[in-house]
Subunit: 471 residues, 2 copies
């Protein structure tokens, strides 16, 4: 029992050498990212990952792990809404591994770093001083936290009693991200109690919303939550957040803003910055750093204007977690009192490294540039006579069909096949979404590596494939 | 717009040099961990972390970040239940940063690696083939996922309708971890509907449990969930999981096991392995890799015996996430269908690196060794005439009072002061918990770096402080 443990390196020189090999391979991957597109998963990859093989770990990672990234680090990846990662993540990854911080609470550096990151973001969003926040895995978890805070404000005893027979109702625009529905399911409000408000010019119809609220009240429902969208996932649309803030105040609703990527228009140039005007008036905001701030997965944030409401929803510390005035049990806040997780990884470090390495202005330029590139893509699409946009390009998303001259069902099949073929050839990654009856190609540009020539080449590749007799 | 981006290194040679400096500093921290105990947070640390200062990032990390770790990497840290981290986390941290995988879904390497990690763990826990799982931030999130699956099995329409007036009731032993209460609050069941079953010899009293279930049924409640504990957070106790499995079957309850750390007795030697006998019969297990598997924060897992029940609770994919037969949108499962998060970081990589670097046997030896060291601590405590154990040492946790000859309130104050002073002097980290009327010192040994001499020295330090006229 007194022998040394077998879980630290027995031969430090060998471990140091292996670590430097890993670093070189990692640096190569970053520097050569344009020449390392995604690739199909080999049939035997699952066997190569089976646990218990041992051997040269770094060699196995070089051979079997690094090449099989998901593509989102590549300049021509615009599928779904995925961030491209940063070189600073490598610095943060090393430092983070040897701190091994649990940021659930207590008094140590990582707690203060998380505060710095939250407070910086709070300022950028224009939320009041004193607003609280907690870093999360992403917008999905942030949404759950925000909705629970909203519910506790509406039903102060709900943590003790459960929701019971009260029918809480929530409101969001048609096309709201699925995270809203999933959060309402999870907390037991139920998806049937999410009202989908029709859009006018891509924004929630305020009159329809008011009518729905009145109808729910008349039938015994308790409206409690209004969800505004800052950057819709399919088309990149923004609700009029100032109008929603007025409505929420009039009707006594909690205004939550889903700003997963779109919240970051706050640091972009106009006209894109203006899209998120009014976000400062939200009761809560959910956003990600791993999309449009390009920081490595995973890292999101929930901000809540009223810290007391935030704590009322989550704070709870039993005897074995009691704080102290000093020592390692000191410190305040303990972030476990602000969300679901008691043990919490150190997400702040990679955001902090990113901001300190590059500065806010570089992020502002990249986000602004992504919107400009989406606009360029829209112009390229319109240069091709058979192509057509599915919707105006509002922010960083461009949705289009490769052959507007076909029947809707034929267009859908063609667009889906083109998306798949371009992924397989390694030329570009679009995902797809439906606009009306047609499945269209969709590019969400949250990629700091994309250049204008990538956009032009990708649209040309779509045109080339669309002209083939069969693909 | 065609210029290169400013978020990749402009000078790769300089970045490579900085990264190697960061690696050297990280390796030094690992190799010298015994000589780098936790330290008080300097008053000006918040200012040093303010965002927007720029400068030499690696230098700032060396000066302001690495020294202010939370202590849990040190051999004499046994506070709360915190893992000590592994050198392999450094390898995983580098590789993970340059893959930047989003493991929400799609078809790429990280998805297959997560499958390998989940399936290996499923096997170790003895759960049936076909059981499903998803990596989480930790046991807290895993518990939420498991409870929602249990609720959906009890009320198949709950995702649509909400829970409504049905009074679901849950059962757990006195002293169950707060994660159970918080999860029931979050999903809207309500903490009042958690029955705390008295313990006999540290295990749930089966007869009392049956009476409580019957009483709830008689008053219109719907018992749905039984939570067994494999490793209680205060004393390291284990329920009789086989007995609970029988009871759950008899009463039609979902058996969830909170195995945050204790589940890993499955790979320890007897007598500790036997503590978790029966865990294979659970409907769900929540456990952490960042505690007793020593892997870096954060990483937990929920396992669910019935994959259909797991998917029924969470699966949902709208048009913009539609899968495909091939290409990057292919692949199955999409892990977003198994939990809260849509975007998901790559937690599997650090577990995989740990297991491949050291092998299962080294973990088994470390876990067994930690239990043996807790027993040694208990023996040391009993060698000191004024000290006394608060409870038998069952697994890896030792709880004791420094001066059993004082009144309870005096003992509590003394133990709290000793914990704080030892933290401040850098000699050892105990946390505290209450046993009956007394706040006691508590060591939870989930630390592969601890040696027998650390245990002896720490108990001696407690004795020395307890003998001082005032501390």
């Amino acid at each position: 029992m007194t022998k040394g443990n077998d879980l630290d390196p027995q031969d430090w020189a060998a471990f140091r050498a292996a670590a430097h090999r890993m670093l070189e391979a990692s640096l190569d991957q970053l520097q050569e990212v344009r020449d390392r597109p995604w690739q199909p998963v080999p049939d035997d990859l699952p066997e190569r990952y089976l646990i218990g093989q041992g051997g040269d770990l770094v060699g196995r990672i070089e051979r079997d792990v690094l090449p099989h990234h998901g593509g989102n680090i590549h300049p021509r990846f615009w599928g779904w809404v995925q961030g491209s990662g940063l070189a600073s993540d490598l610095i943060a990854g090393m430092a983070g591994a040897v701190i091994n911080a649990n940021v659930g609470g207590r008094d140590h550096g990582a707690v203060y770093m998380e505060r710095a990151v939250i407070d910086w973001t709070r300022g950028k969003m224009g939320m009041p001083e004193g607003a609280s926040g907690v870093l999360t895995t992403g917008t999905s978890q942030a949404t759950v936290i925000a909705f629970q805070a909203a519910r506790v404000r509406a039903l102060p005893d709900v943590r003790k009693t459960g929701q019971g027979a009260v029918q809480l109702t929530a409101y969001a625009g048609v096309g709201v991200h699925n995270a809203t529905r999933k959060a309402l399911e999870l907390i037991g409000v139920g998806a049937d109690n999410l009202r989908q408000v029709p859009l006018i010019n891509g924004q929630m119809d305020a009159e329809a919303l008011s009518r729905m609220i009145a109808a729910d009240r008349a039938s015994g429902g308790v409206p409690f939550l209004l969800v505004g969208t800052a950057g819709s996932v399919d088309l990149g649309l923004f609700d009029d957040l100032n109008a929603l803030a007025d409505l929420a105040a009039d009707h006594g609703l909690w205004l939550h803003v889903d700003g997963a990527f779109g919240a970051w228009t706050r640091i972009a140039d106009d006209p894109w910055r203006a899209l998120s005007d009014g976000i400062n008036r939200a009761d809560s905001i959910a956003l990600d750093f791993h999309k449009w701030m390009y920081v490595g997965y995973d890292c999101g944030l929930v901000l809540i204007a009223d810290e007391a409401a935030h704590r009322a929803a989550f704070a709870a510390r039993p005897a074995y977690l009691e704080g102290a005035e000093s020592g390692l049990a000191g410190g305040d806040p303990w972030y476990c009192d602000y969300g679901i997780d008691l043990s919490r990884g150190n997400r702040a470090l990679k955001v902090w490294c990113a901001l300190e390495a590059y500065g806010e202005a570089a992020f502002a330029a990249a986000i602004t540039g992504n919107c400009a590139l989406a606009r360029v893509m829209g112009e390229e699409v319109q240069r091709h006579p058979n192509m057509a946009l599915g919707a105006d390009v509002v922010s960083n998303i461009c949705v289009f069909t490769a052959r507007v001259d076909l029947l809707p069902e034929e267009q859908s099949q063609l667009n889906s096949r083109i998306a798949r073929r371009l992924q397989e050839t390694g030329e570009a990654v679009f995902s797809t979404t439906r606009v009306g009856a047609v499945t269209m190609l969709r590019a969400a540009i949250t990629n700091h590596r994309t250049r204008q020539e990538d956009i032009v080449a990708a649209v040309d590749a779509v045109a080339r494939m669309a002209a083939l007799p069969s693909i």
